[in-house]
């Protein structure tokens, strides 16, 4: 192992010691909560870089982060085109349609306890199934372009959101419902003013789970056929050409998109459910 490897190891040991000290001494502080994980992330990158260079690993197997960053910088145009095709068209369209449909169905189902008792176990069962498997069928039905990817995403996000939304609509307790009754509120009024707001924490739980599912659905569906752009298409062809830095760049894009999407839902959740105990300032 050359000196880069040893340097990375030394860096790792030093930062771990620093992290342990900070965590034990100032663990409660706000800056420590941000500093410790960030330092850990940087350490992982340094360790990756040092080990790959130090041990002389072939870039075909695992390229070092610096090489990936260089490839990322030189092919931003290509990456943006893939991002637009897969995330903006396929995943986002499917996400909106699937979540919207799930919320509407949940509101309809909520009126009938009979349907609820029947649909919930079935929905839970379907949510545990390998739904990605329907991707080839939907690609056959809707063609190779983004519509079929959106369709896969619709099916994938539908059940988790449905199950959460039904649970959320049932979240009000008898006391609250009685209060609405004493106000002689109609079904619509109590739905809009009490039960929908009360369901929001549950709904956002489902929406957050669905963000990752949407990206997975859109990318995996492209393995079954796609136009000559898109993240899944690029990953599978670049793997074939052993262009690993490009593959890792696509993965970096997917990671950024996934975290950004998730973060956006967390922000919206903060605004919408500001009243919930888990969101109130401590």
């Amino acid at each position: 192992m050359s000196w880069q490897g040893w340097a990375a190891l030394a860096f790792w040991i030093a930062t771990s010691a620093l992290n342990v000290t900070i965590a034990n001494r100032w663990g409660g502080h706000r800056w420590a909560r941000i500093f410790v994980p960030v330092l850990f992330g940087i350490t992982l990158l340094v360790l990756w870089q040092g080990m790959v260079i130090g041990l002389g690993v072939s870039p075909v197997i695992l390229p070092p982060p610096s090489m990936i960053a260089a490839r990322f910088a030189e092919s931003t145009g290509l990456l943006w085109g893939d991002f637009a095709q897969t995330i903006l068209k396929g995943a986002l369209a499917g996400y909106v349609i699937g979540c919207g449909a799930a919320v509407l169905v949940a509101i309809v189902v909520d009126r009938s306890p009979f349907l609820q008792r029947g649909l919930l176990p079935v929905g839970n069962f379907v949510a545990a199934l390998p739904i990605v498997g329907i991707a080839p069928i939907l690609v056959m039905w809707f063609g190779f372009d983004w519509q079929s990817k959106a369709a896969v995403v619709v099916v994938m996000v539908f059940f988790p959101v449905l199950v959460n939304m039904v649970a959320g609509l049932a979240a009000t307790d008898a006391l609250q419902r009685d209060l609405m009754q004493t106000y002689s509120a109609t079904y619509r009024q109590s739905l809009l003013k009490m039960r929908l707001p009360a369901a929001m924490p549950f709904l956002f739980n489902g929406l957050k789970i669905a963000t990752t599912l949407a990206l997975i659905g859109a990318i995996v569906a492209e393995f079954f056929g796609s136009p000559t752009r898109g993240m899944g298409f690029r990953i599978s062809t670049a793997v074939g050409q052993l262009d690993m830095p490009l593959v890792w760049s696509e993965i970096a894009v997917a990671a950024l998109a996934g975290s950004g999407f998730f973060g956006m839902m967390v922000l919206i959740e903060k605004v919408v459910t500001f009243w919930h105990p888990s969101q109130r300032a401590k």
Binding site: A32, P37, F40, P130, M140, W141, T212, I235
Partner: protein
């Protein structure tokens, strides 16, 4: 009884909708055939013909069941057409990955509960890693490991392990922290070493959490294995069956493989559930 009737109703409604959709989606082909032959089709003819096509757009439920039955019971188990054979290939990789992922999740959870530095540095990244569509790297993992000479079960198991490790980690961190302050304080007054606290208090009280996350984890491991079988020309496994079906337009084969995967998932979750019931009962924790 109170839940069986509604469930049966919902399932029956789905089957009826499915038959309707099958007639609607497959009718185009029947009309085309009739137009080519210069004949008219009556409604009864239309329905019977949409039910029995060889490559329907949407196979009717009974066709899928027939395909499933043929794949499970109609073939020799060693045959390449047997769903039992493909299911076994998928199941073995799933189990290997599930065991691997469970072990990794358990070890990390124990570390996180005992070390504050690990909790603060690893936990945010573990959560962030789940917002990454990790299945996207499945083809790369397979190709890279193949170039190192590792093929077959191991690459699939690694992807399955990655997917199943996260639910276990999160569940067990919660579970190992489940004992309340009073119980921990009691052991402290006994001057109990940390290993004994883990072994005698934390692990036992985490069992309900462990099983809840095992159920999620085993389903995730199956999804991981199936996706891992899609790229790079895998020849065996339910995922490969899906892919070859989509290449050759064999819709009945796709649906049969899909149903086999669903049955496998349900069976795995049921097995974990049964172990859970027995264990919790023996430990006096059954609700």
């Amino acid at each position: 009884m109170k839940t069986i009737l509604p469930i049966l109703t919902v399932v029956a409604a789905i089957v009826v909708l499915w038959y309707g959709a099958a007639v609607w989606l497959n009718s185009k082909w029947v009309y085309d055939q009739a137009a080519r032959a210069g004949t008219e089709v009556t409604t009864a003819q239309l329905i019977s013909e949409t039910m029995a096509q060889e490559r329907p757009v949407l196979p009717a439920p009974h066709q899928v069941l027939a395909g499933l039955w043929d794949g499970v019971a109609g073939q020799k188990i060693t045959s390449k057409r047997s769903l039992v054979y493909h299911g076994w290939v998928t199941l073995s990789a799933t189990m290997a990955g599930f065991v691997l992922g469970t072990a990794a999740g358990l070890i990390l959870a124990i570390g996180i509960v005992h070390s504050r530095a690990m909790d603060m540095s690893v936990m945010p990244w573990a959560i962030a890693s789940q917002t990454i569509p990790i299945l996207a790297i499945a083809p790369m993992v397979i190709v890279v490991l193949a170039s190192l000479g590792i093929k077959g079960l191991v690459p699939k198991a690694i992807i399955a392990a990655y997917l199943s490790f996260f639910p276990i980690l999160v569940g067990m961190v919660k579970g190992l922290r489940a004992p309340d302050g009073m119980q921990l304080d009691l052991l402290r007054t006994y001057n109990t070493p940390r290993a004994a606290v883990l072994w005698k208090l934390r692990l036992p009280s985490s069992m309900p959490y462990l099983f809840a996350s095992l159920k999620v984890g085993v389903a995730a491991a199956l999804v991981g294995t199936i996706v891992a079988e899609l790229p790079a020309g895998a020849t065996a496994g339910l995922g490969a069956r899906l892919l070859s079906g989509s290449y050759y337009g064999q819709t009945v084969q796709i649906w049969a493989a899909l149903f086999a995967a669903a049955l496998l998932a349900a069976a795995l979750v049921a097995v974990v559930g049964a172990i859970e019931a027995v264990t919790l009962k023996r430990m006096g924790m059954a609700r």
